[in-house]
Symmetry: C2
Subunit: 426 residues, 2 copies
């Protein structure tokens, strides 16, 4: 007899979002020899263990130049620390340099990865059962999962043009939309970006509808070759409508697990929304590891606050890979049997095929073809079948990428034959 | 006009537990010159920044001896990692060496501090509005806060003997007690420990009542001079009744923010409760910083898995401080005007006084006497006035501790006079 019944545990544990993440993690463990086009991980090409002590020392030296004595330097890095973090000022400088975004460092909460930033934000905003989150669909599974953890339903917004109608319908149903989650730059999973007029229109709509925007920006520093970066929603935001969710996983080091949220909204208690998030954080993780923060702080100091400059090599790799993927698909599927997005940057290409792409097909791909990717169904909050898959151009490069694409092409070609045959059988 | 109304945010933000933590953090910032007997921080006496690269290298070398090539070593420490963590096997060895506790490493989830371990556990256990947590009272404010975050009411258990009655009453009220939170060793805030027969009786009761026990053990390695350590509940647990919440903040390094939970309960899906917690973790913090884990992993390797051995100097300091506090109080208050606990280890002494100890008195103490401590009221989940304060013997030593005790004695003496006077005024 089992000690615990799953049905007696929180509903999120039977939810597709959480099990989706779990399944995707597991399959890469089960097929370690399959090449992965699945994970949205940054390239490991320039990983160097020696960077860690170097970044720590840079941060320690920075504290010394700020006037801290040795005991205070040690305390800042090794002891329990400030709930909102110890590298908030450095992050504010980074946002100014890279994003032309000027924020009060006190409005920044440094988090245990961007995921915690999402969780804290949604926890604060979910007050009762009438609250809902709106999210662009398809959406990063992490926002759906975080919403599940705090019992916050997510209403999908398939297209920005649908947003007013979704808000109207939600309000008519007695629901209270607390915010709209978007990834305006090289989105996960779609790969798509919003143009500048769309960004401005969205901000205007947010004002008209009195809606908060949750802007998630993990890939903004990676435009494709020849593409100019656009201002973030937060940089365009003059009315504190935007909560900015930041990550250093792709631009700093994933192993530090350091992210942040800019929450400069005022609260009627007199403080900032960041201070409310800080109260929640004290009960979720107490504070973000100051050692991990020191690593990211050191990296920010090392690159003179420009992660855009520090990531030129990575950006070049991702841009090259996007072009390779795009050219490969064009060469192998010239007759319109499938379509794919041509993103202007970031990590992801979505391929739409004339057959259902599900976990079963992924398992077959891993087992028989030796290649992993992500069924797009995982990014929709419904059980409807989806004829598309996402591949990531970030983690696999050079000859490995070529082998992976050949394997994927073999799978797709075989499936095209099978699906044509089953059509004929009808 | 404010952007957000506090009343439109999650109820935890107006809760005493979260604001309590916030107030205690703030007051130490407002009075930086006050000596702190408040924070339950480990001593900084042996903090050494050079330990960090040394621990990282020890962990990297450990991975190499396990057969990982350099790319895999770099990936393990610097890339996204396994949701349940990468030092689970080292933690299992530490528990075997220090606690005579043998657990399947797969039943361990490494967390962003013990606070996240609490949050994940409570999130999993809180399925609906009938669920409640039982907790020893007074209790660590972090467990109450984590419960608030997941909307889980906490029923206080002032004495272990009350437990059956509290359970019975809860069930009669249609509530479902999901677990009982205890800190059997040198508890925060009471300083008290359970003797061995009590531990066995509690386990029997848990079996009889089909109740999970949540055992939190941050201070177990710090018995006072001449005191033998007792087995943890988890080491005595033969029926997987105990979820063990572990922390390296006091025994490893607080700045790593690494904790863990042992959840070896089976679930009717066929997996371990740890795997369900892992699913939640993927939506809270994705994974615990592998860099931070490597620091703790290196420390575990460095001390051959015995943190008890590695903390002999710290243990001696805390034991000495407990004795100093105890002797000081006995010397200055010989006539029974106040009473205090004489803990057999850990960080905390509770002083009971004949006047109300509230935040106002703490502010006065910080401002006029230059000493910080914690009103015991913060550890009770009610508004009832409490005539006691907690002082911590961990963070302040030597001459500083003496000065702090003198200041505290001055405050208490003045308050004793004031309270006598106000009695006479009646």
């Amino acid at each position: 007899m089992a000690d615990l019944e799953l049905s007696s545990l929180h509903a999120s544990l039977t939810d597709r979002a959480l099990n989706s993440m779990n399944f995707l993690n597991e399959i890469s463990h089960h097929y370690p020899d399959a090449i992965s086009l699945a994970a949205g991980r940054p390239t490991e090409e320039f990983f160097d263990l020696d960077d860690i002590p170097r970044y720590l020392e840079l941060f320690a030296e920075h504290l010394r130049t700020k006037g801290l004595d040795e005991a205070a330097v040690r305390r800042t890095i090794l002891q329990y620390g400030r709930t909102k973090g110890v590298i908030h000022e450095l992050i504010a400088r980074n946002l100014a340099v890279d994003e032309d975004l000027y924020v009060d460092p006190e409005a920044i909460v440094v988090t245990a990865g961007c995921q915690e930033a999402m969780l804290l934000t949604l926890r604060a905003l979910r007050a009762d059962a009438a609250d809902v989150l709106l999210a662009i669909s398809p959406a990063y599974v992490g926002i759906t999962g975080a919403a599940r953890i705090v019992d916050l339903p997510v209403l999908p917004v398939p297209d920005l043009d649908d947003l007013p109608a979704v808000i109207k319908r939600a309000r008519a149903d007695g629901l209270r939309p607390r915010g709209f989650y978007v990834m305006p730059d090289f989105a996960n999973p779609s790969g798509l970006s919003m143009d500048l007029p769309t960004r401005r229109r969205l901000l205007e709509l947010a004002t008209a509808e009195e809606l908060l925007l949750l802007e998630d920006n993990p890939y903004g520093l990676f435009p494709a070759a020849g593409i100019d970066r656009l201002p973030t929603l937060k940089a365009l935001d003059t009315e504190r409508r935007v909560i900015y969710l930041g990550s250093f996983a792709k631009t700093g080091l994933p192993g530090a697990r350091v992210g942040f949220v800019v929450a400069d909204q005022t609260v009627n208690t007199g403080g900032l929304f960041a201070d409310e998030l800080s109260k929640l954080k004290s009960m979720v993780t107490v504070n973000t590891s100051p050692i991990a923060q020191a690593v990211i702080g050191g990296k920010l100091l090392d690159c003179d606050f420009s992660l855009a400059a520090a990531n030129q090599r990575e950006r070049a790799i991702y841009a090259t890979n996007l072009a390779i993927v795009s050219n490969h698909l064009a060469a192998h599927f010239p007759n319109g049997e499938l379509t794919w997005t041509i993103p202007s940057g970031g990590f992801f290409v979505v391929i739409t095929v004339p057959f259902v792409v599900d976990d079963e097909l992924l398992t077959k791909s891993a087992q028989e073809y030796g290649v992993l990717w992500t069924p797009m169904a995982h990014f929709y909050d419904t059980d409807a079948p989806v004829n598309a898959l996402r591949i990531s151009c970030s983690g696999t490069t050079g000859a490995q990428l070529q082998v992976a694409l050949n394997r994927l092409t073999a799978l797709i070609t075989d499936q095209l034959v099978l699906s044509t045959r089953s059509e004929l059988d009808l």
